[in-house]
Amino acid sequence: MTFWNNPINFIGNWLTGVLTSWHMPAALATILLYIVGIVVMIIFAMTLDIGLVWVERKVVARFQDRLGPNRIGPFGLIQPVADIIKMVIKEDITPAGADKIVYNIAPVLAATSVILLWAILPLASTIYGVDLNVGLLYIVAAGALGTLAIIMAGWSSNNKYALLGAFRMVSNMISYEIPMVIILLVPTILANTMSVKGITQAQSGMWFAILSPLALLIFLISAIAELGRSPFDLNEAESEIVAGFHIEYTGMKFGWFYAGELLHAFTFGGFMAIFFFGGYGGFFGLEKLGFLTWLNIPFVQALVFIAKAMFGYWVIMWVKYSVPRIRIDHMLAFNWKFLVPLSLVVLVNTAVLNKVLITLPSWLYVLGMFGSNILIGWVTIEILRAYGRKQRKAGEKPISPAQPQEQVA
């Protein structure tokens, strides 16, 4: 074991040696190193978060045909630092009638629920917090804490807009949790494990995005809903309820919600990479070739993972800045009448075909899985088209053809 193929354990062993040579009990040294590891992971995530502020602002500027921050530092790179200084020195206001303790816990819990996800995020084959055998459920559990934080913020602010935002957020998250949980079972079936690292390793030959593109699409939609980003940003709809659940928060307390949201989006980009694009690996077996073995170096794997996660994050931003907000009844109908049945069909299809086709040669297996997804997608679109036509016909009926039709602006 050298620094280059197992950096975390290498540093850990070295530090344990140093601490025990200072006559520290081995158990205490282990606990101390766990704490150090957690702090380093959080610092890494939060430093990345500062960078994400810049990325988000630059990308939204591109989508809206602007330049974005470009005054402070080269390409505006120091802008996030200026943002943070501004947030920290702003006045901290607690509204009259707010429930002080709950009001102050909420932003911390919101950021915590995101950072908890980093415990199971494998950056490389040897750089990860913990390899849980219930990793996928852990993601859902951390999301539940995020929902709780938003309810606490909305209720304790003692503000009607904040409360409305919290209500919308709860109905949103509880509904979209269901297709997400169902669709997370697809990678579980394909990889035969719920461990996040196991799912990554199972994709070393073939990405699950190719085996089940529909699952990827449903995961993307329910992830965006879980994040509360446009078109599902009803919880903070600026034009209707001002800023929703965080309307009363100022300074760095607002900053925690903002930082949490950005990091959450990036983390879900990372999970998309892990579940469907092979995470840190997934080079289709290329890494076994002699001149490409450097792909197995943990630092290269971490770079590959961050690049894939950035792609997922970019797709989420692309949707956010291109699609307008949808109405709450449409949002719920879309979930319950479309996404849930579709995800159930995809799940059953994956479960059955995976058992039937697994005995066939691998190219036929991949073709069968991919083809069945395309077939389901095609049938879905045909059903939607027939339904849309029926609705249009029903809408046209009351107007008799003799009457002159009113010009619709």
Binding site: D99, V140, A141, A144, L163, I174
Partner: protein, 170 residues
């Protein structure tokens, strides 16, 4: 005392303390939040016992669904969140006595289990607890019948909820 015992004691204090707060605080929403803390403590206990699946499911179901629905219902239905009435009935000693009896019964039952003072053997290396649980839930000589009966019950609850909530279209 090992680190595990310290964590166990702290978690026990958290669970019992927040459970006590649930029934004593006057603000209904605070009571719901204390309930969340108590349920979270139970999840930590499961994690200490290396029951990963139960720990995570405890958070998903009890905090993610049930507690949040409690809070939702409280926020939607109550205009006044502060309870001002008396918190005990005049016959409070009857349930207290019953509770005490149940406690004595449970403690004596636990004490009568043979080999109580032995430490548990370590988990076999490489045992996938989730896989073992899944196999047990669908194998005929384990829990397949209770599992199926429970799912029928869930289905009945679902159908009932849809029937109650459906608008009568006449």
């Amino acid at each position: 005392m090992t680190a595990e015992q310290i964590i166990f004691l702290l978690t026990g204090v958290l669970v019992l303390g927040s459970a006590f707060m649930v029934v004593t605080v006057r603000n209904l929403l605070h009571a719901a939040l204390w309930l969340v803390a108590s349920l979270f403590g139970v999840a930590v206990l499961y994690a200490i016992l290396q029951a990963n699946f139960l720990a995570v499911v405890q958070v998903v179901i009890y905090i993610g669904a049930i507690a949040i629905l409690f809070i939702f219902a409280v926020m939607l239905t109550r205009r006044q969140l502060l309870e001002s009435g008396r918190q005990t009935r005049s016959s409070w000693w009857i349930p207290a006595l019953l509770g005490l009896l149940i406690l004595i019964g449970l403690v004596s039952l636990i004490l009568s289990v043979p080999g109580l003072d032995r430490t548990a053997s370590a988990m076999p290396v490489g045992l996938d607890t989730v896989q073992a649980l899944g196999t047990a839930l669908v194998s005929p000589d384990a829990y397949v019948l209770p599992f199926e009966v429970a799912s029928v019950l869930m289905l009945a609850a679902l159908v009932g909820a849809v029937y109650v909530a459906s608008v009568d279209k006449k």
